[in-house]
Symmetry: C2
């Protein structure tokens, strides 16, 4: 920058003015500086600029792993929204490791970012409240509520309720829930709670627990019995574990005519397993998912599912973050995103 100033015969300040499009620069001066910049191939040093400005223009995104389609698509949306606001995204993968999740908040990398979008999977509300994040954090997902942080969450209960109700409306009477908690581990704290009230007090939970609550509500509303045998836990939500759980259920002779996958990944495992065992979808068993991944529309058969826009999640998260930058003291907000049901070929 010094060289540019010298070559253009102006001061450092003038070069800076030109670079930053400061309006009160004589046209002739601007031209000279621009030429000097080109001649020398000068590029601003963003690190120095950031140091001086006190912000980095980067936000962190911490997710379990990009390899899961859901998080890949989410990251894509976050990058897209960030870009539209002139921000960059520093991605961190916590790899289903609680220590890594906790480290995210205090991380040295935090000081390279202005804020963090954080999707925890394992740490609990207590740990999160105890941690002192270096800068604003917006929570994504369903792990913790009520910890005094801004939060963009999906309509877990209502979405799964709608999914289950859809299967029932199409004639299913014995609906298996794939990816559920273990039958003796279902949490009843949410029985009378509206989705938007989750933030009232500290809660540690899981997507499984919230979604199975939606499943139960749908059954209750339809007057169908809740049969714990129909809960098919999978551990991590993956195609493989979903397929394994359904295969196992078939082989045990479980009687079911519908499958609610608690997310699309496990749901996508079901048709695979059913096909291998010669069960017709949707003729004998209907399948519905939750997320509407890109690939779900091209599964065989195409998966009926609950659509939640990753782009919308990202937009809301950024809104919350930028609001927080502007008014650091404002009350934390929980935003529950809307959903729609997308009918495809895996239901009748």
């Amino acid at each position: 920058m010094n060289d540019v100033a010298t070559l253009a015969g102006v001061s450092l300040k003038t070069v800076s003015n030109v670079i930053n499009d400061y309006p009160h620069v004589r046209e002739e001066t601007r031209r000279r500086v621009t030429e000097a910049i080109a001649a020398l191939g000068y590029r601003v040093n963003t690190t120095a600029r950031n140091l001086r400005r006190g912000r980095t223009g980067m936000i962190g995104l911490a997710v379990p792993e990009l390899q899961e389609s859901y998080f890949g698509e989410l990251a894509d949306a976050v990058v897209q929204v960030a870009d539209s606001r002139g921000l960059s995204v520093l991605i961190e993968a916590t790899r289903a490791d609680a220590a890594a999740e906790l480290a995210m908040l205090a991380n040295e990398r935090r000081s390279m970012t202005d804020g963090l979008l954080f999707s925890p999977l394992l740490i609990d509300a207590e740990q999160l409240r105890a941690a002192v994040p270096a800068n604003p954090v917006v929570l994504l997902g369903e792990r913790v509520f009520g910890v005094g942080l801004d939060h963009a969450s999906l309509a877990n209960i209502d979405g799964t309720r709608a999914a289950t109700a859809h299967l029932i409306s199409r004639g299913a009477r014995r609906v298996a829930a794939v990816g559920s908690p273990a039958a003796d581990d279902v949490d009843h704290r949410f029985r009378d709670l509206a989705e938007g009230d989750l933030d009232r007090r500290p809660i540690t939970t899981t997507s499984e627990q919230l979604r199975i609550e939606g499943y139960r509500r749908a059954l209750a509303e339809a007057g169908l019995p809740y049969d714990p045998d129909l809960l098919l836990p999978t551990g991590p939500w993956r195609r493989a574990s979903g397929a394994a759980a359904v295969t196992d259920a078939i082989d045990r002779g479980l009687d079911f005519d519908g499958v609610v996958g608690l997310n699309d990944a496990v749901a996508l495992g079901a048709p695979h397993a059913l096909a291998v065992r010669g069960v017709d979808v949707p003729g004998s068993v209907q399948v519905i998912g939750f997320d509407d991944l890109d690939e779900s529309a091209y599964a065989t058969p195409a998966l009926t599912t609950v659509h939640q826009s990753r782009l919308e999640v990202a937009q809301v998260a950024f809104e919350l973050l930028l609001d927080r930058f502007a008014v650091p003291t404002r009350e934390p907000r929980l935003v529950v995103l809307p959903f729609t049901l997308v009918e495809r070929d895996s239901t009748r």
Copy 2:
């Protein structure tokens, strides 16, 4: 840091020494500093550190979009490898926009990173040679060769050759190539070129062109005719476009008993389309892909495909980049990654 020094009764330099694990610090001093750090909740400012050190510890990853499973998985691998080496990843999405791709190299964000892993899709060798990247670049993928940059590439020709040969060995005689270039647009420059020799001179090409060359070689080696009618172009490689191309082929009455998808995304569209038209896979038509995405193993039927490890790509790319940091003047290298064929249920 000043406050820490004051509280601990030492100088700035000593605090720095402690933070950076400089060995020659008296134990007692180290303790006092550590306590002061804890008491004040001090955290290093990475931006300042980076400015002073002259490096950022971040590398950029520029891909078309994370939403495509392939790039999501690749990004995951890159983040994983970066993490293992204490580096962070700044992700940028070029969104199939040539201007955005070109901007990647000169970008202000470049000065926030020490190097770039770049997967171009649209810009050509000429543009790439003309651009003066701010710091080391490693190319990923198959768009340009021979431009004097380090490069990690897949075995496009040989991989697709193996895929096609596999179908033929399983009895296919009329193999459609989904995701190919248009029949009158097939490039013959590669006819006698070995994969590893691609870097000899500047070449602008596409994955389509290289992979269709592999397809042709396999046909030739099996003594089967090359029938341009069997080329099914799709435009962008997506499940949707793959499905559409195959549906269209069926409806036109095209005679084929095998499908080589030039990547898994288009290949995964094929069983979908075939199922909709009541064609049995692999009974009547066998399908094979290229990439081995996570989801391919759980497609219905599970997709036989050419496996290339994203992790290996990432490792090689980092190797090249770190080597380049160490020896900036070394000759650029092209590394062509190995592949294996994974047999699943979409072939006989």
